[in-house]
């Protein structure tokens, strides 16, 4: 129980490191940014393994559709692309990406909710 909550704090630590290092080392900016991003990636992956191995087989289908919804986070990047004024091509690509990612987000969370509400205890 306790350890997995500890794991949840790790990406937060990664985030803190990112802010601290960006302020400190302007010289090695390029490499530092990459290393921080990699750190976050590896730690988040680890958190994922720790948390998701605890999901029981009964809920593996909602887990899959729920993770579909979470991977729709790309919508964040899509919104920046479509909302920026820099390039028409980027707006077009971002628009298409917004549609696809929103299908993921809305479809994923809704269908997961629909399935989960079918799981009931014995009366």
């Amino acid at each position: 129980m306790v350890p997995s909550f500890v794991w949840c704090l790790l990406p937060a630590c990664g985030e803190a490191c990112l802010l601290a290092e960006q302020a400190a080392a302007a010289g090695h900016e390029r490499l530092d940014a990459l290393l921080t991003a990699l750190t976050i990636f590896v730690l988040a992956m680890w958190v994922g393994f720790e948390v998701i191995t605890k999901v029981p087989a009964t809920l593996h289908t909602p887990l899959t559709s729920g993770s579909n919804a979470v991977s729709g986070i790309t919508v964040v990047g899509a919104l920046v692309a479509v909302g920026a004024v820099a390039s028409t091509a980027a707006t077009g690509l971002g628009f298409l990406a917004t549609i696809l990612a929103t299908v993921n987000v809305v479809g994923g969370f809704l269908v997961t909710h629909r399935m989960l509400s079918m799981f009931r205890r014995k009366e």
């Binding site: 990406p11 985030e15 802010l19 390029r30 940014a33 990636f41 992956m45 958190v47 994922g48 998701i52 191995t53 605890k54 029981p56 087989a57 009964t58 809920l59 593996h60 909602p62 899959t64 559709s65 993770s67 579909n68 919804a69 979470v70 991977s71 986070i73 790309t74 919508v75 964040v76 990047g77 899509a78 919104l79 920046v80 692309a81 479509v82 909302g83 920026a84 004024v85 820099a86 980027a90 707006t91 690509l93 971002g94 628009f95 990406a97 917004t98 696809l100 990612a101 993921n104 987000v105 809305v106 479809g107 969370f109 989960l116 509400s117 079918m118 799981f119 009931r120 205890r121 014995k122």
Partner: protein
């Protein structure tokens, strides 16, 4: 507000969303908390989107609004209408959309960098990441599309094999790699990006068409993982931690499920992806296994068995869902429980067409989740079980997996139903399952075959038990 401060606050909001997503997966550990978990995830997404709309770079909202409206409409329509038997197709489609969206966002960033007038230098993080994200995204999109068509039984219903397919795939992979290096060293060469996407697209199709229907659960999990990794890759492109964290969570989830599925089929991932699984039909063997030993039973005989039983384990397979017999089965369980018989369900990991699929189909038929037992949980319990009712399952209850080292399913973990006092198998005929081998369980001394269509057979059992 000062733009720098605003961006810092947005990043803080992303951090909160990431923690909410981790909470989502954490709360999925129990059916009771899972709904809350899913709602937390949705909240995290709303927060991330809201924060993004406050970003100083976002200056126009019309197209964003139209895109969200269209995507939201399609997503909601899909989610509310899809029958639960078609969940594997739905997930395949969503995996593909996620991959494609990541690919497009990475491309948009390359175009924006050009338009801003300061193109990236060679081997800059965003360019390298764009190459990775474009490649994974394209493989995910096209692979998922093929998986969708296979599952929906519209196209590629049989595995497609052709001469030297491994060589063709290797060459395509090498071409994609060369294009990725070209893009990384010449960041203004946008043609390289689209050629890379093209090569990866062809690769995605060719990698998926040879994979058979029985292996689809593994492919879905793998593509689920890829859709997450593509999102994480795009996070590296646009330097966004929300994408990196969420993407790697999904990547981890897909990999874990993939491992579980491979283990349940006793096959390596390499074997599923690149091996050719040919079912060898040996008519003579079936004759030797079944000759004169198979005992049929009527609904009344099975009902009498139930009458003297204290506990019954039901083992459902995908045939049950095909026959749409889940509701009838739940009614049979209710009738048995009314007579004081303890009823549980033993569910093999590959009982459905994706991980956990059978559990969802049973939940839809109002089966309480406490009654659904995993393989490892139920196996020690079979020797003390009075009656096992196998319905629509075959290979996953074949004792050859334990006893015959030369069998194609040797070593595959199975439900040891043959150890129960009596086994009743509901089946239309003695035809083999995906593995193409006969099942000695059907000819065992303690087995009774109840031949018939799944739903009809269960309805007959219900009326027979009621007449006792």
């Amino acid at each position: 507000m000062d733009p720098a401060l605003r961006i810092a606050l947005i990043k803080l909001a992303y951090l909160v969303s990431a923690v909410l997503f981790i909470g989502t997966f954490r709360l999925l550990a129990r059916p009771r908390t899972a709904i809350l978990g899913n709602l937390l995830g949705a909240l995290g997404m709303v927060l991330a989107v809201g924060a993004t709309l406050c970003h100083p770079d976002v200056q126009r909202y019309t197209w964003a609004g139209v895109g969200v409206a269209i995507g939201g409409g399609i997503g909601a329509a899909l989610a509310l209408r899809v029958p639960l038997t078609a969940m594997p197709q739905m997930v395949a489609l969503l995996n593909g959309f996620g991959g494609a969206a990541s690919l497009l966002v990475a491309a948009a960033e390359l175009y924006q960098a050009m338009a801003r007038g300061h193109a990236y230098r060679a081997w800059d993080q965003p360019v390298v990441a764009a190459a990775v994200s474009g490649m994974i995204g394209a493989v995910t999109f096209w692979g998922s599309l093929v998986a969708f068509l296979k599952l929906q039984e519209w196209l590629f219903r049989r595995p497609v094999h052709y001469q030297a397919q491994h060589v063709v795939n290797a060459v395509l992979g090498a071409i994609a790699l060369v294009l990725a290096i070209w893009l990384a060293s010449r960041p203004d060469a946008l043609a390289a990006y689209w050629l890379l996407v093209l090569a990866a697209s062809v690769l995605g199709v060719l990698l998926t068409i040879p994979i058979g229907g029985a292996d689809m659960p593994v492919v879905i999990c793998l593509l689920n993982s890829y859709s997450g990794l593509a999102a994480a890759g795009t996070g590296f492109v646009i330097d966004n931690n929300a994408l990196i964290i969420s993407g790697s969570l999904v990547g981890a989830s897909g990999i874990i499920l993939c491992q579980i599925m491979c283990k349940a089929m006793n096959r390596s991932l390499t074997n599923v992806l690149f091996g050719v699984f040919t079912a060898q039909l040996d008519e003579g063997l079936a004759e030797r296994v079944y000759a004169g030993k198979v005992k049929g039973a009527s609904a009344e005989e099975v009902a009498l068995l139930f009458e003297s039983a204290q506990n019954v384990v039901i083992v459902p397979g995908y045939g049950l869902a095909v026959a749409q017999a889940q509701h009838a089965l739940h009614e049979l369980a209710n009738v048995l429980e009314a007579r004081g018989i303890r009823v549980t369900y033993g569910i093999h990991p590959v009982a459905g067409r994706m991980p956990g699929h059978m559990n969802v189909l049973l939940a839809e038929a109002n089966v309480p989740y406490e009654q659904m037992k995993e393989m490892d949980e139920i196996n020690p319990y079979f020797p003390q079980t009075d009656v096992v009712l196998v319905i629509g399952a075959n290979d996953v209850v074949n004792p050859l997996a334990r006893t015959d080292p030369s069998s194609p399913i040797a070593g595959m973990p199975i439900l040891n139903v043959d150890q129960a006092r009596t086994v009743v198998v509901v089946k239309r005929s003695l035809s083999p399952g995906f593995a193409g081998i006969p099942n000695p369980l059907f000819a065992a001394d303690n087995t009774l075959m109840f031949f018939g269509d799944g739903k009809q057979a269960v309805l007959e059992l219900i009326s027979a038990v009621k007449q006792l």
